[in-house]
Each structure stands twice: as structure tokens, then as C-alpha cells.
Symmetry: C2
Subunit: 488 residues, 2 copies
């Protein structure tokens, strides 16, 4: 028990300091490490494996929707950024530059890609000549760079990993369909596999991607009530097509600019996973994404170990054969230490077998999500594991959705009410969460809300739980119903 207590103490409670809790958990669970390179982290094996599972799930979906992977140069000539005005303004302040190479000063500086619309636009202009070359549906898995002033592991680092889809189409309609299709791929993956409930909608003009006509996003609520933009899909119109002269001869023999899209998610998703499901005991991973779904631990005095292992090993093999990602912890530590360790690492289900379990032909299953302890006959164990993993997956989504809905505020209608809400939350320690509010469409109102409350518009949801009539800020008629929140 002593061990157990001191162990748990190493993680700051969420209620005490959420930011410290987050850092404690990712360090303790060995997901990352800091490096001497400013703002860059190491993705350690347990952190990187989460990314590998995210990659596998998304890559499958990208291929099923007709996309293929490719790889473009990481270094982008400075002149390329000049070709799309908003794009250069948006990204220029954050770029690292290569100015020397092979012992010589370069004639033109090369940026480390922050995103690849420019270099890919340049290549598409060579590849696309005719309507028969369209659509082009390409995705890239890559490292990207944004020299951020304030960094936070997984959420905002100078270098991060992501995928970026870049497609070109003959018509606006097709390109808009693609934009929506990939937004839906993201929603499906994040809700189904990561058990993270999302608000899906359109970004306001001031929050859209630099160079996009329209940006759509999936937004998740972290356990501190702050928003995390978990993925974006952009309809770029003909902006990049015009900047890079991507033209095609259409069926009607007219030379036309293509319509392009881009869409991306990044290693931010690891941060979202932790902040949506984690608790004071550490990580909690949804079964579909968890690298280890079941941890098996033998318990009881060493003298009974042979007796226990005679049941333990066959169950381990049976689970493995059934396709369950199972691991056995046979190290020489106390069971209590191991229980804590694997709870902290977020393994969804634990199975204990001790000598009395063997006598009773059973094992004990312990759920990470509820803590519930369930004795299960050994001959039903495989079946029950599969059912429980599904149940845990479902329950984690439901719990996260209940939390989100409980902190999504629908009855705040004025800036004064919003300020009062925030002040009250700060006083009581409550979570301010998301606020659904009307907006007149004027960027000045949005900016004022941000300045006075740090709440930013998250998105204009496709399916708002209510329709707002007046602008939160100016009181004029609302053009849109918008989610506002503080955001990572």
C-alpha cells in the first residue's frame, strides 16, 4: 500500500493543476522526452506507438477513399511562398530557414516545410494537363516545422509529424465533396477509434487556413474544458491553382484552373487522446487504439506460481490467437506495483490470476475505465474479453460525450454573460467549457470576444444543439451559431 500511495502521488491531480497533470502523465507514461533542440521533443516508443496506430487507422481509410501516398521535398524555395499572398503572411513568421549547405551559402533560402501546398502545387502544375489527369488524390506522411514561441509536448512543437492530403479536381463541386469526405473520414476515425466526441463545423474566416476559401474542423473538448482543433479540411478554391498555374484542358476544350483541397491531422491527436480520457491515475486508452489491450498479471505467493501459470499461459495464448493485443507482466515486482503501472499506462483491461482463481476455475478482470472487478470463468474468458473491450470502447466515448455536453453551455447570449460565466468559473474552480453563441459575421465582434475573454470561435457547427438569434458581442441579428472556447 505504501508503494501504491507514493506512486500515485507522482501525478498531480487534474483538479489541482491540469497543465502539470498533463506533463506528469506524459513523462511518467514515458511517451516523450524533452531535447536540447528548442521546442522539439523525442517521441519515445510508447508515444510513437500511439502515432503508429493512428497512422494505420487513417492510412487504411485514405486508401479506401482512393488516395495514394507520395513524398515531396521537405525544403521549399523562398520564392514559392510568395505565390499565394495569404499563405506567405500566415506562415512566414514561423519558418526555419536553411541558408547554407555543403559548405556554401545558398542563393535562395530554403524553408523547412510548415505544410506543402506550395511545392505540391508546383508539381501538380507539371503533372496535370487534361481533365483525364483529374482528380489527383495524394497524401503525404511527413515531419513539418513551425517555430512556435510557446510549446507544449504533442500539442505545439517546433517539429511535429502529420499527414497532409492534397487533391486537385476539375470542378468546385468535386473539390467541395472531397473536402467534406475527408472531414467525415477524420470524424469517423477520431470518434470510432479514439472515442473522442467531436463538434464538426466550419471555421470562421479569421480562423481559416492561410490561403483557403473555406476551412472545416473537428473540435474536441479536453478535460479542462479547453478546445483542441483535432483536424482540418480545406477547400482551397483556385487560390493555389492560380498561384502555381495548375491548369487543365477540360472536355469542352477550355483551359481551366483546377480546384484544390488539403486536409491534415497531426501528432496533436496524441495530446487529445491523453487530455480527453486521462485521469488522476494516468493515461486511459480506448481499446481500439491501445497498443496493449489486455495486461495479464499473475498474483499470489511464489510457491503457487507453477499452479497459476498452468492456467495463465493457456489463456494468454488463447487471447493472442483470438487477435487480442495482450501482454503478460511476469517481472519481479509486487502485483500492486504492476496494477498501478499498467493503469497509469492506460491499458483498458487487466486480468489477474491467483491460486484461488485457479481453484475456482476463474480469473479476475479489472476495467481501466470504471475500476469494476469482474470474476470470469476461465472457459468464458476470451469471449468476455472481446465483449468487455467493445463495452469499454463504447463507455469511454459515452463518458467523454457526457463530460463534453455537461460543459457545453447553450444559454449564454451576451459578452457580459460570458464574462460573468468565466469569472464565476474562475472563482469556483469550475470548468468554463464551450459556449454556443450567436455571431453577426463581423470579424471585429469575434476579435473583441477574444480580446476580452480569450475565448475564440472554434467552429460554426453543422448540427448546433440550438440556434442563436443575436450576436454575442454587438447584439445584432446573428448570421451564425458558433462554438466559442479557450483553445490549445
Amino acid at each position: 500500500m505504501k508503494e501504491e500511495k507514493s506512486f500515485v502521488k507522482e501525478i498531480t491531480p487534474q483538479s489541482e493543476d491540469f497543465s502539470r497533470w498533463y506533463i506528469d502523465v506524459i513523462r511518467k507514461a514515458d511517451l516523450m522526452d524533452y531535447t536540447p533542440v528548442r521546442g522539439c521533443i523525442v517521441f519515445k516508443p510508447d508515444g510513437y506507438e500511439l502515432w503508429e496506430r493512428i497512422q494505420a487507422g487513417l492510412d487504411k481509410r485514405f486508401k479506401e477513399t482512393g488516395h495514394r501516398n507520395a513524398y515531396f521535398p521537405m525544403l521549399i524555395p523562398e520564392s514559392f511562398f510568395q505565390k499565394e499572398k495569404e499563405h506567405v503572411e500566415g506562415f512566414n513568421p514561423e519558418l526555419p530557414w536553411v541558408t547554407e549547405a555543403g559548405g556554401e551559402k545558398l542563393e535562395e533560402r530554403l524553408a523547412l516545410r510548415p505544410t506543402s501546398e506550395t511545392i505540391i502545387g508546383h508539381m501538380y502544375a507539371q503533372w496535370i494537363q487534361s481533365y483525364r489527369d483529374l482528380p489527383v488524390l495524394i497524401n503525404q506522411w511527413a515531419n513539418v516545422f513551425r517555430w512556435e514561441k510557446r510549446t507544449l509536448p504533442f500539442l505545439r512543437t517546433s517539429e511535429f509529424l502529420w499527414q497532409e492530403g492534397h487533391t486537385a479536381h476539375a470542378t468546385e463541386e468535386e473539390a467541395r465533396e472531397e473536402t467534406m469526405r475527408m472531414l467525415e473520414v477524420y470524424r469517423d476515425f477520431v470518434e470510432t477509434e479514439m472515442a473522442i466526441p467531436l463538434y464538426v463545423g466550419q471555421k470562421t474566416p479569421s480562423e481559416k487556413f492561410a490561403g483557403a476559401v473555406d476551412t472545416y474542423s473537428i473540435e474536441a473538448m479536453m478535460k479542462d474544458g479547453k478546445a483542441l482543433q483535432a483536424g482540418t479540411s480545406h477547400y482551397l478554391g483556385q487560390n493555389f491553382a492560380k498561384g502555381f498555374e495548375i491548369k487543365f484542358l477540360d472536355r469542352d476544350n477550355q483551359l481551366k484552373y483546377v480546384h484544390t483541397t488539403s486536409w491534415g491531422v497531426s501528432t496533436r491527436l496524441i495530446g487529445a487522446l491523453i487530455m480527453v480520457h486521462g485521469d488522476d491515475r494516468g493515461l486511459a486508452l480506448p481499446p481500439r487504439l491501445a497498443p496493449i489491450q489486455v495486461i495479464m498479471i499473475p498474483v499470489g505467493p511464489p510457491k503457487f506460481r507453477d499452479k497459476v501459470m498452468a492456467r495463465f499461459d493457456p489463456l494468454f495464448d488463447a487471447l493472442k490467437a483470438a487477435g487480442v493485443r495482450v501482454k503478460a507482466d511476469l517481472r519481479e515486482e509486487t502485483p500492486g506495483w504492476k496494477f498501478n503501472e499498467w493503469e497509469m499506462r492506460g491499458v483498458p483491461l487487466r486480468i489477474e490470476i491467483g491460486p484461488r482463481d485457479v481453484d475456482n476455475k476463474q480469473c479476475l478482470m479489472v476495467r481501466r475505465d470504471t475500476g469494476e472487478k469482474i470474476p470470469v470463468p476461465l472457459d468464458e474468458a476470451v469471449e468476455r474479453v472481446q465483449a468487455l473491450l467493445e463495452e469499454i470502447q463504447r463507455n469511454m466515448f459515452v463518458k467523454a460525450k457526457e463530460f463534453r455536453d455537461a460543459h457545453s453551455h447553450l444559454h449564454i447570449n451576451t459578452l457580459a454573460e460570458l464574462k460573468a460565466h468565466i469569472a464565476r468559473c474562475e472563482e469556483t474552480g469550475e470548468i468554463a467549457g464551450f459556449v454556443l453563441a450567436g455571431w453577426c459575421g463581423d470579424a471585429a465582434c469575434e476579435a473583441k470576444v477574444k480580446e476580452e475573454t480569450k475565448f475564440t470561435s472554434r467552429n460554426i457547427p453543422f448540427h448546433p444543439p440550438a440556434r442563436k438569434q443575436v450576436c454575442l458581442c454587438c447584439g445584432k441579428e446573428a448570421q451564425h451559431t458558433v462554438w466559442f472556447a479557450r483553445a490549445y
Copy 2:
């Protein structure tokens, strides 16, 4: 027929100009494109997919041998390179440098990684304290940079993709075992999956990795007789451990330096694949690696199309269900055009079905490796495809090995003989190939051979087909039997 001829003409014959053949094939097969970024290429979907299949095959083997993936920063502080003397001398001339970021000049230049021993060494020093922390078995999939003067797509580009394994061990013995284990993983993968026969051995000191104690390599012979180093595995001794202070408290309570290894293969393997198996018709891909294993093409007049498709579709479905990577080409092009197209793209097996085949309840299978045409009863088709794919895989390896052995010269014993051999080959247009020769162990002899013939030592094979008694260059007693060749 006219189409067919003009089509084939677009690829320069290997015998006419191997370098032009190579460029023709990779362009025509749409594997890559040049970019405006010096020495950097685009890996287009058909090229990148080869890399994805290489990645999948290797990643599985790395995990089976206990390794896990991680990701380290791409930017490496200049001071890190200074910590291992040979390493900095080896890589410094090739580095691109970031000197500005986020609008400011950096205090210390950051290199784009050419390889990650330094940054990983720095991190391992934090992570490793005790013998219980060992071994550390980590691999990284990443982009790397070497600002090469002369570039060649896939073989030598300023940016390329690779994997780099980095392991740390308590003892020299364990580290040397790891070095050999990963060399064998490479050999097994490249010979079994890529059907490329290899000479496996140790690099001479002058050809080893900058900072290694010993470097081992797998060397393949391209169809022009030149060598391609297809992968390397390094025993680094305590060189990096001392440079980065990677120490551990051993069981005997002594503080010791770890022993490290590193090992890597890169997108060069794509180049090897093309140059070992390709011919004047284009690519030829071994079935195990081929993204498309079987291409199905309906033939005969359009009026019989329904009749043909009634047999075509079920066979397609049956092959798919059997796990064969099959694609149907139903485009409105002539069968002849399609035959050429898919031969050029290297698909190992073609299946044609026409109206007469339907009458005879058969289909026609055509092998890419031999051109052999095999009528097969439809109800045996799936089984025959599986057998043929295995047979093609085997045959491609055998053919490549026969070619290599035929151009591996065992009876050249002096520098004069080597020069005469080269002169004769240049005169007759024969392939100079590999030459097995004795070497006294003196770097000066090796350098002289290189200077006078451009033949470099490839490796000291573990299993030489003969033992040489005297040094090729000085005639003194040979310490080693070495493969010499011109190399990419």
C-alpha cells in the same frame, strides 16, 4: 503493332546506355519526378508504394527482433557533431544548416540530420543509468539529408528516406551480436522479398562508417556490373558512448560505457530493385514486393465483352479473396497497349481472357520474367496464380544470381590483370562486374587500386567463393579476400 513499337522505343536499351535506360524507366514507370529543389526528388505514388512495401517487410522483422520505433528531432545542434571526431569529419562537408528561424538568427547553427547517432546518443545518455535499462533497441523511420554534388534518383539525392536502428548494450559481445543479427535481417529481407542476391561481408577500414569500429554491408550487383551497397550495420564500440557520456552502473557496481550499434537501409533499395531486375521492356518486380502482382486484361472484340466479363469478374473476385494483389485494367485502350504498359510497370503476371478462352473454359497467363504464355483452365486459375507467383519469385532470384555469378571474376590476381580486364571490357562492351582479389590490408594499396581503376573495395565477404593468397596491388601476402567493383 505500330503503337507497341513506338512505345518500346521510348526506353533506351540497357546495352546502349545503362544510365539513360535507368532514367527512362523510372520516368516512364512514373516512379519519381525532379523538383526545383537541388538534388531532391518527388517519390510519386508508384515509387513511394515500393518504399511502403519495403517498410512493411522490414518493420515487421524489426519488431520480431524486439525493436520499437521512435522519433527524434531532425535538427541537430552543431556542437553535437564535434563530440565524435571521425563522425564530424565524415559528415560535415555534406550538411545543410538552419541558421535563421522565426525571424531571428540562431545562436547555434542546426544541421539537417545526415544520420542520428549524435542526437540519439545524447538522449540515451539521459535514459540509461543501470544495466537494467539495457539493451535499448530503437529504430527510426525518417528523412535524412546529404548535400551530394552529383545526384541520381533513388540512389543519391540530397534528401532521402530511410530507417536507422540505434541500439545500446552492456557488453561488446551483445552489441556485436546485434550488429550481425540486423545484417542478417537485411540479407534475409533483400534476398527473400526483393529477390536480390547479395555478397555479405565486412567493409575495409577506409570504407567504414564515420565513427564506427566495424561496418558490415550487403552488396548487390546491378545489371551494368556496378555494385550497390544496399544496407549497412555498424558496431560503434564505445565511440559514441564516450562522446556522449552514455554510462551505466553494471551488476558489479562499476560505471561503464555502453556499446552501441547502428544500421540502416534507405530508398536506395528502390534503385537496386530496378537495376537488378529491370530490362529493355521496363521494370520487373518480384511478386512478394510488387504492389500489383497480377494484372487482368479482357481481350477480343467489344461485342463479346459481356460474355468475357461473365468469366473475368468471378476470377478477379476469387483472386482477391485468395489474398492476391490483383488489378483489372478495363480502360478503353487496345490490349496491346495495355500489355506493354503493365510489362513496363513490372507486374509479375498478366491474365488475359477473350471470347475463345471463355469457350475453352480457360485463360491465358503471361509471365513478366520469361514471357512464357500459359493457357490455364479457369477452375485451376487461382491455384496456378499462387504457384506461378512463387515460381516467378524464385526464378527472378536465380536469374539475378546467375547474372551476378557470371560477372563475378575470381581469376584476376594483379592490378595489371585488373586493368587489362577493364580495358578489354571497355573495348568489347562487356560488363566488368565484381573482381575477387587478395589484399594485404594496407589502405595505400586499396587507394591505388581505386585511383587507377575506379574499382573500390566493396566488402570482405564472409563466404568468399575462393581464397586469395597475394595482394592485388603490392603482391605481398594477402590478409583478406575482398570484392572490388565500381560502385554507385
